[in-house]
């Protein structure tokens, strides 16, 4: 059975953490955008 070096998993876990921060940033951006957009919309109507 061929084995993958353990440090490869560490490297991929570090990449996964970066992905998680990016996705979390997107979620936060969606929240802020909708809130701000609706806030501005409500005050211009």
């Amino acid at each position: 059975m061929q084995h993958i070096p353990a440090n490869d998993l560490d490297r991929r876990r570090a990449a996964a953490r970066r992905t998680a921060w990016i996705v979390a940033g997107v979620a936060l951006a969606v929240f802020v955008l909708f809130f701000v957009q609706t806030f501005l919309g409500a005050h211009h109507s």
Binding site: R13, A16, A20, V23, A24, V30
Partner: protein, 541 residues
């Protein structure tokens, strides 16, 4: 280097079934994807039982015209909480539980990418629901304005509004963290050789679902935050008297709400796409078409939201746009149904319990799809809107769709989880019992809706009495099914036949490469993928 790796692997094998000792360490502080999956599934089942009990209150009241058992305001609390509990407490956590259990196993990962956040995602949920259900015991009772929380009606509740909003926030945070974890796991922790277009369909559908969650849960959070500030902090986002617009809430809510519908059905598509090839002993017909169909449905889900609110009055161009965009969804959905049927075509089919639930899903979900197409037609929707036809439609999609697939998945993967087989006779009895009573409950609601019976009312015209009684009898029969499930699975856990590593002859995929029950830790060393092992993208027809 090879020796070191081999030694590390031996060590992993020594430890692979090591579980934390002590109840709290095992369950409260767990970071193990299988244990967290189990917690999610138990939580979802508990919530489903609570939601089912509420539905029995609703159907008992509706069994005959006139007020029978409960006051109208309490009836409204039951309809509101039944929906919130079933959507956010039962269906979504059940799918997240299945994702936790199966995604790392299907892609050859040792665990989820962020195991401690995984623990947090789960343990937020019980507190959110304690808070939501606790409102029933508060002065003024629970939220009663419908799960859609439309202002100004929803804001007329008492303190329960704040509790509901905070509970929704917590569920949203849980869902977002779960989605982040799933995306990071699938994109980064796949074993070498598990290419994206070789992934099992269940993993694929969950990847797309996770992106949907990331895109829309913050929108829901924004919407309910604005409700909260309108109620308690003097803002007028949705208050016409203060310059706001209540219809704007509906637009924002359904921008979340329609993708939410697909959040609850795409993983179901994935499950059925695992089960049908297994019991047809054929590769899935049109694997790539299935992936692209799911992606298309996800994209279209963002541009159809206003079909939920045709009757608020919108420009003709808007009505036409949302009508046609909604109808477009029938195309990728039709591709999926066609491919499931084509997978079965000329297959060596057998009808074990998971397959029965999967076929039941295909047939009955399609009925829900067709009634959805009827609702998409603007002039017809003016007749159907807010009637029992809508109730029938979404219960066909959610009960015989989402919940059937969850039950199918439990029967399918149970031997892998527990190392025990389920009694086939009782499993089939469970299926046929449910088939009879679920149709008895929901099919007559089409007739009631077409005849004009409005939804969310505790009393109705005597003209609707007969079909309401039939529907209530069906609901009482359905209420026995959770108890049936407890008995069937408890019996299996206690004395079921020992499950082999691959309990289903036609099953392929990495989850069937580990022993049954799956050890506490799996794939601590990534597996080496051999041709055909994945049985999805790497198998040609």
């Amino acid at each position: 280097m090879a020796n070191t790796a081999a030694h590390a692997d031996d060590h992993a094998h020594d430890d692979h079934d090591h579980k934390p000792e002590g109840f709290l360490d095992r369950w409260l502080f767990t970071t193990n994807h299988k244990d967290i999956g189990t917690l999610y599934l138990i939580f979802a089942f508990t919530m489903a039982c609570i939601g089912a009990a509420m539905s029995v209150v609703i159907r008992a009241e509706l069994a005959a015209p006139g007020l029978q058992h409960v006051q109208p305001y309490f009836f409204n609390q039951m309809t509101t909480l039944h929906a919130l509990v079933m959507i956010f407490g039962a269906v979504m956590p059940a799918f997240v539980g299945l994702a936790n259990w199966m995604i790392p196993l299907q892609i050859g990962a040792p665990d989820m990418a962020l195991p401690r956040m995984n623990n947090w995602s789960f343990w937020i949920m019980p507190f959110a629901f304690l808070m939501l259900l606790g409102t029933l015991f508060m002065p003024g009772g629970g939220p009663a304005g419908g799960w859609t929380m439309y202002p100004p009606l929803a804001l007329q509740g008492g303190a329960s509004v704040a509790f509901m909003v905070f509970a929704v926030h917590m569920m949203g945070i849980s869902s977002i963290m779960g989605a982040i974890n799933i995306i990071a796991t699938i994109l980064n922790l796949r074993a070498p050789g598990v290419d994206l277009l070789k992934m099992p369909l269940f993993t694929w559908t969950w990847l797309i679902t996770a992106f949907l969650l990331i895109a829309v849960m913050p929108v829901l959070a924004g919407a309910v935050t604005m409700l909260l500030t309108d109620k308690f902090f003097g803002t007028s986002f949705f208050n016409a008297a203060g310059g706001g617009d209540p219809v704007m809430f509906q637009h924002i809510f359904w921008f979340f709400g329609h993708p939410e519908v697909y959040i609850m059905i795409l993983p179901a598509f994935g499950i059925v796409s695992e089960i049908i090839p297994t019991f047809s002993r054929k590769p899935l017909f049109g694997y790539q078409a299935m992936v692209y169909a799911v992606a298309s449905i996800a994209f279209l889900s963002f541009i159809v939201w206003a079909h939920h609110m045709f009757t608020v009055g919108m420009p003709l161009g808007g009505e036409l746009f949302f009508m046609y965009s909604t109808m477009l969804i029938a195309i990728p959905t039709g591709v999926k149904v066609f491919n499931w049927v084509s997978t079965m075509w000329k297959g060596s089919m057998t009808f074990e319990t998971p397959m029965l639930w999967a076929i039941g899903f295909v047939i009955l979900f399609t009925i829900g799809g067709f009634s959805g197409l009827m609702l998409a037609i603007v002039p017809a929707d003016f007749q159907y809107h807010d009637t029992y036809f809508v109730v029938a439609h979404f219960h066909y999609v959610l009960v015989t769709g989402a919940i059937f697939s969850i039950i199918a998945a439990i029967y399918y993967w149970w031997p892998k989880w527990t190392g025990r087989m389920v009694n086939e006779t009782w499993g089939k009895f469970h299926f046929w019992w449910t088939m009879v009573f679920v149709n008895l409950t929901f099919f007559p609601q089409h007739f009631l809706g077409l005849a004009g019976m409005p939804r969310r009312i505790p009393d109705y015209n005597v003209a609707f009495a007969d079909w309401n009684l039939v529907s209530s009898i069906g609901a009482f029969g359905m209420f026995l099914t959770p108890f049936m499930m407890i008995a069937i699975f408890a019996m299996s856990k206690k004395s079921g036949a020992i499950a082999p590593q691959r309990p289903w002859e036609g099953a392929h995929g990495l989850e069937w490469e580990v022993p049954s029950p799956a050890p506490h830790h799996t794939f601590t060393t990534p597996p080496v993928i051999k041709p055909g092992m994945l049985a999805h993208g790497d198998v040609s027809h």
